[in-house]
Subunit: 228 residues, 2 copies
DNA sequence: GTCTATACTCTGATAGAC
DNA sequence: GTCTATCAGAGTATAGAC
């Protein structure tokens, strides 16, 4: 099922090596020699594939952010009820952060390593993504289905909560990613006091994304499920 | 009011320089020469005050964790109702993470830089602290005042949310730390569906810590409010 | 594409004079 | 306590042969 027949190109091996080392030791804490060694080539050969160490980092970030946004867009496509949009955004965010932990941690931790133009690119990606959260929260507050005291604080707090999954989740632990994603949906709905009239809305009341949806949206990729 | 008369000892200058640089560039990304320069002495003199670069890091972490735990212990001392304990733990956590952002970010980000025994020391501190959260959540669930589907996931999710404040909060922004702390209390109470019978409990219903309490518990310290 | 060899800078840390 | 000078190794990146 999860068998990758192709024996991984050099580019892929470098990409995976970078994910492992950057997420474990940090970008600054990883040397070119170490990276080359982990990818199975010499430091000089490495430079036939990556313009520079920072190019490698920025590529990881752009690709990761892009996948997150594309998945989120697909998840809320055509959905009108704001509490369902919010729930699905949380579910995708948690599922992705639990499935691509190394990548998400690198994106999260090493943003400040980017210089100038690269930094702006990644920032624009993040702003576009977070705008989806802001609009779901705003629409939910406007239609009184969500109770949001401070839009900005709530958005940042919920994003922090859902991003945290990349830091503490372990696939060998007691829960699997999908369960965690649903539990977070419930935390998000509860924390915004989602309700229709007097009746509060729970994860089970909404049409969330099922396991099959994620299998389609996020087919097995080499960096998925990778351990710490 | 916030005037520090004493002109800062060499130890303090080094400590503050380390906080600034480690939080901005990371531990691995900060060199000894840079650190010495920022503290206003030569690299060699630096070593009259710090055994090694890692000693400096571990001291920052132990002191920071210690302050957080002492503040939290003081905040819940003698409090029996679990929802009040949880609320105050969240309030302290957020207030500290918003007030000592550099320090908290270093503690959060550079844990993996610690080797062996140092790592275990910091881990033990964190476990002791998080046990207070676990017990508040557990007691709240047992007395049915909190609704906690999964104790572990909820604890980790709420801690991630409250820790996030150190990453996004800016004192020059629209909210002050105290406001943020109260808003997070409300998010935490809502996310655990805190209620007595049918009536849900909000931050305003509980006796939280007031501004004066924090002034006493966390008197102005040189690393407080420091910017990014 | 791969490699060995190397350039030049910076790393954490120390010796020893003052 | 301060400093200048220095160590051995690791930092990123390139030259040039194959």
């Amino acid at each position: 099922m999860t068998t990758t027949a192709t024996p991984a190109s050099t580019e892929q091996r470098i990409h995976l090596a970078a994910l492992r080392l950057f997420s474990r030791q940090g970008y600054a804490g990883t040397g070119i020699r170490e990276l080359a060694d982990e990818a199975g080539l010499s430091p000089a050969s490495l430079y036939n594939h990556i313009g520079s160490k920072e190019d490698l980092l920025v590529r990881i970030m752009l690709e990761g952010n892009d996948r997150l946004e594309r998945t989120a867009v697909a998840a809320v496509q055509g959905i009108e009820r704001p509490e369902v949009r919010l729930a699905r955004l949380a579910q995708v965010h948690v599922f992705v952060h639990g499935s691509f932990r190394q990548e998400c941690r690198v994106i999260d931790a090493e943003f400040s390593e980017l210089s100038g133009a690269h930094r702006q690119l990644v920032l624009d990606q993040r702003d576009a993504y977070e705008a989806m959260w802001a609009s779901a929260l705003q629409d939910g507050a406007n239609s009184a289905v969500l109770s949001v005291a401070d839009l900005r604080v709530t958005r940042l707090a919920l994003l922090s909560m859902c991003t945290g999954v990349a830091h503490w989740f372990r696939p060998e632990g007691p829960n699997d990613v999908y369960d965690i994603s649903v539990r977070h949906v419930d935390l998000v709905l509860a924390s915004t006091r989602a309700a229709r009239g007097r009746r509060s809305i729970r994860a089970g009341d909404l049409t969330l994304l099922d396991r099959a949806w994620f299998d389609l949206a996020l087919p097995d990729q080499p960096d998925r499920q990778a351990s710490a």
